[in-house]
Symmetry: C2
Subunit: 395 residues, 2 copies
Amino acid sequence: MSRPHSTPAFGKAKETAVTFPLMIDSNMASAGTVHDGDFWAVIPAGGSGTRLWPLSRSTNPKFLLPLLSERSLLQRTADRLEGLAPPQRTLIVCGPAHGAPVAEQLPHFPTTNLVVEPTPRGSGPAISLAAAIIARLDPEAVMGSFAADHEVRDEEAFTCAVRVAIEAAKAGWLVTIGLPPVRPETGYGYIESTEEVIVTTDDGSAFRSMRFVEKPDLARARTYVESGRFLWNASMFIWKVRTFLDELAQLQPDLHLGVTQIAAAWGTPEREQVVAEVWPTLPEVTIDEGVMERTPRVAVVPAEMGWSDVGDWHGLGTLLDSDEDGMSARADLVHTRSRDSLVWSETNRVIALVGLENVVVVDTPDALLIVNRSEAQEVRSVVGALTRSLRSEVL
Amino acid sequence: MSRPHSTPAFGKAKETAVTFPLMIDSNMASAGTVHDGDFWAVIPAGGSGTRLWPLSRSTNPKFLLPLLSERSLLQRTADRLEGLAPPQRTLIVCGPAHGAPVAEQLPHFPTTNLVVEPTPRGSGPAISLAAAIIARLDPEAVMGSFAADHEVRDEEAFTCAVRVAIEAAKAGWLVTIGLPPVRPETGYGYIESTEEVIVTTDDGSAFRSMRFVEKPDLARARTYVESGRFLWNASMFIWKVRTFLDELAQLQPDLHLGVTQIAAAWGTPEREQVVAEVWPTLPEVTIDEGVMERTPRVAVVPAEMGWSDVGDWHGLGTLLDSDEDGMSARADLVHTRSRDSLVWSETNRVIALVGLENVVVVDTPDALLIVNRSEAQEVRSVVGALTRSLRSEVL
């Protein structure tokens, strides 16, 4: 699979100028031998992780935080993907405020592989632009897109699933990895699978998908879980860039046109001007709604891999070690008559918990959160209230 | 009641030396005309208020804290007593670490009126020494002792009750003020009253007391409350110093001898030496156990006065203003789906509460407490655990 010829282009770009990342030697892209495409990884690193306030902030979003080890969720995602695609074939899409910290956290990645969005416009423009840029470098490439701020416990299961997905992608499918639901979650989208096998390898099988469905209400989520046919959509997408761009041209012609224009200028002196003109005109659409819910060419690889979106403090708490009372502490904690709680401190204060159950305490130098775990989603409303009060110093 | 002749002695002492407080002009004490004694106030300022950790600390105990207004509990106690005894006739008994902050909080009190105990030995030695010192200055004095860290809402009711108690004291009784119990509290002692009236004035009546009883268990506390005969003992004692010292000589002869020796040396150059020799030998006994539970000469003045011992965070919470959701905040608080909670901050952090009921949050620069209000008493065990871990920096 290794194709050294694509790497020098990035090496060259790196030497040229950080302000013109992904300087493309267009001769290089078209001069190669015929091949069936290398695997490229794309890591959309967007969103601030509002529900993990006050740890996550606009300038220090969830994906930059070392929540589950000394490495951040972004670093863990990059580590997980390195066995599938080397740093030279990995693009990270992020906002302008996060380019520097991303480069700092991933020093062995070419800074030219950072695709900096001028403003956030959702996953559609972000992932489509990455696909268009890769297509210019390697028209036969298979790419896989994986969120920067999710957790996967079982990395081997993850790698096997991606390998199956790559085989299905090579056969012309838009492939997603689907996670067997463990509860009637209303916060995720679902994928309905059929029993029609598309490919089978030693690592598993890909099935034709009946449909992508948006976040359901609780009653519907229950029927989904009971049916056994529905899988969680964790926004893991694997496809040949050519397949995807062809589908995008059909379903989202404006978006296709825009990202093609930007990708054409990406390694040139005109890049900034083209981005400034075109980016604000791109439709704000998600990949799910804009493409996956509208195409019949979707396949799904079901895989259990200990996945979590680390979505809120309750979810994070379930991923951390706890003692026999269910207490998790990243803090100088003293507790009595307390259980099933998480105490996280970024200060060196003593924290004492007395007679409490099922709470999360998050202690930072300028903001303190105490939340009932059952209402962890509601942290969003606190951030909303602070936003309305113009308290940007703690957001 | 005003007897200007006793004041100059303190004025003189104040000019002489702070290290020899209460310099007594013994000629002055015995040279006067016959009189029935002025009223003197004694404020024992001991105890750190462990259950109000982390706000109360060994160096900044409960009585020094401005918990209910901008004035500390000590200042509020002194303010309350000023109508009964001027600063010149008020003694404050405290530990060596607290002399300076007490003097700072009460700048209009003669520093010579601070009686500094070398080590804490309970209320028996503290109050007995104050009585012995007052007796040397004014043998016919009536004194009243009132804890420095309790709250009284209805100051007029308090003043009326003390006036009645003074009349009963002049008739030779050891008088206490008893508070009608509003719940079967197991944390206080009780006073059983008889219906035998000792004195009646326009302000109310004093009754002979049947007995002082120690903190009961819950079942007994319930029968006490139902009986209507039992009152809470809030350690408010009013007596002629002569009556008290005579009783002390009978019931606690060693303590009587010791405080008499110290009082005799109090205003002299020998004071420090005598204190150093005698104080450590004094029996560690409370006034309740050592005297009040053993004497038949006890009277009680029942009085409702909105009293609280401000004993723990739940109790403090009930004294503070709250909004329609029962939320009390001395903090930059944002809350959602929360009620009946108290948030107290000594920092300028934003504090957010989500989905919580019946909790207290106390935020200080080096320690944070979160406690279920129903278990507010258990804060003591946290302080115990920190003490055992030698965490004196936060105690």
